[in-house]
Amino acid sequence: MRARVPAVASAAAVAVVLALLPFGMSGYHQALGAKVATFFIAILGLDILTGYTGQISIGHGAFMAIGGYTTAVLSRDHHTNLVLTMLVAFAVCFVCGLLVGLPALRLSGVYLALATFALAVSVPQIPLKFSTYLGGSGGVQSSRTVSHLWLYGVSWAAAAILFVLAWLILRGRTGRAFRAIRDSEVAAVSSGVKLPVYKTLAFGISAAFAGVAGSLYVLGTNGFAQPSEFGIILSLQILIGAAVAGLGSLWGVLVGAVFVGLLPEISSSVPLIGSAHGQDVVFGLLVILVMVVLPTGVAGLFQRLRRLRAPT
């Protein structure tokens, strides 16, 4: 009870800052803020899957692609309200996640990682194959584009809603089941947790979050969905963000999202390493450094600090 009050207070503080931030920023920075929110949602989803049920996925870019294309196609063909398309993306990706989660039950660890990796590489090829309806390499353009402020507002609103949703799911019975599965599958089964149900459910929820992130991602690129936007690097960015955030905790997710969303921008303005390659070198080095120094991510760091401060 006691620990929850400061948590709610800090969440409220963060929310207030985020709400006021865009009014001092240029449109370009608002777009950056929206990008951070997009990563926030995707990393949140991955955290639920990998951090809470221990299933590794390097394939969340695939779910983002599905969500993004859902938004673009619905908008292009039916001029659907954009927020409504995000809800549809959520639902569609939830189902896709369940479909992926079922065969994934048979895999674990490195094998699951490879299988999801395969997914991330293969799904963006689908619009190329079915190019008449899905635009091929020419992409799909939504019928409406949005202003930077709109995108910022909607992205962070979605992020807040999904954060609360994640928090509610994880503190309930589902969350307890997830944690039991992560800690020991054998023990979980023996205490009555239906493994297939919860593991698949985790995939579904996680994919649904990534789907919404995908919608926002496409809206952030002028409403234009194209296969080359969803390369493997996107899945890797989400994974890196989740690792930096620290798995198994919701609070580090913001840090992870900032790390992945803003670092390329920041490093590109530093003169010596300003060239595109310098960015990659710095990013790669930082990723390695963060993992070596903080293998349990920012959340792990918070935990350690809390333990230090707690009375013995």
Binding site: A118, L239, A276, V281, G284, T296
Partner: protein
Amino acid sequence: MVELARKLALPERRLPASPVLVVLLGSCVFLVIGCLQSTIFAQQTVAGLAQGAVYGSLALALVLIYRATEVINFAQGEMAMASVYIAYQLIQWGFSYWEAFAVTLAVAFVLGIAIQVAVIRPVQHKSVIAVVIVTVGLFILIDGLVNWKWGGAIRFMPAPFGGRVYHAGGVAFARQDLGTLVVTIASVMLLWALFQFTKLGLGMRAAALRPAAASLVGVRVNRMLAVGWGLAAVLGAVAGLMAEPSQFVLQPTLMQPILLYAFAAAVLGGLESPAGAVVGGLALGIFLNLIGQYVHFVTSELRLPFAFAVLLAVLLVKPTGLFGHGKVRKV
């Protein structure tokens, strides 16, 4: 040495299970018949063997690291690519191709060890995720470094086995492709000999499978892991140097598509089996070429997804791959 192996109760290498052998033999028979029947079938098979040898040689490096250190190295392709650029630079400085080849292998060995010690060792006992992320970070870092130093422009390297083409029965065999095949098979055999007959190989197997017991009998486990990475880096360099002539040009994206196919090949053959990696690579190369030739639905966009469909099918049906044994999941 045999005593050591017995003491550590290391599993003996067995031949793959009989259903797998039957499938492999059946496929070989099918291929031979097909080649005799149709020139284009034969040509696509030969081309598939050539490409498959490249996939298999990178898969070999992946398998070695996995077997020696239980890590999937996502940076393997970029390490291989960087090695090729090192060779390129040596040739620019005046070395002959084979001199540059030898020096590059030595440099790759040292760099592989350095990477294991500096980057992997600090995280290898933490979570699986941490190690995966670190290799991803390495991928990005190495790619950035190569682009920084040499830029993205296309460059050209001499072909190690020359450009001659032999023709037999209407089918063309490029000397370069034959050379790649020979080098790949020789690599597997050398690796097998290393594991089977040398103390170092035994030590590496022990360090991977029974680290606690191995250190008790005097095996320096950390050293074995580092050597494992060094050797894998060497194999990767060989894979890269064989891949470059197949593409005729050198650019930083050299190994990226190959890495993806190499993963599929490694899983197909069995992540713990070097022979499986090469057989998996060859099989994948042939399979993709024949499918592309005869099944019209499989156009070029579906080539990579098809390779991954193979990977997924293997993971779901027999996760240990064609040549693998034993359980996969660790509870």
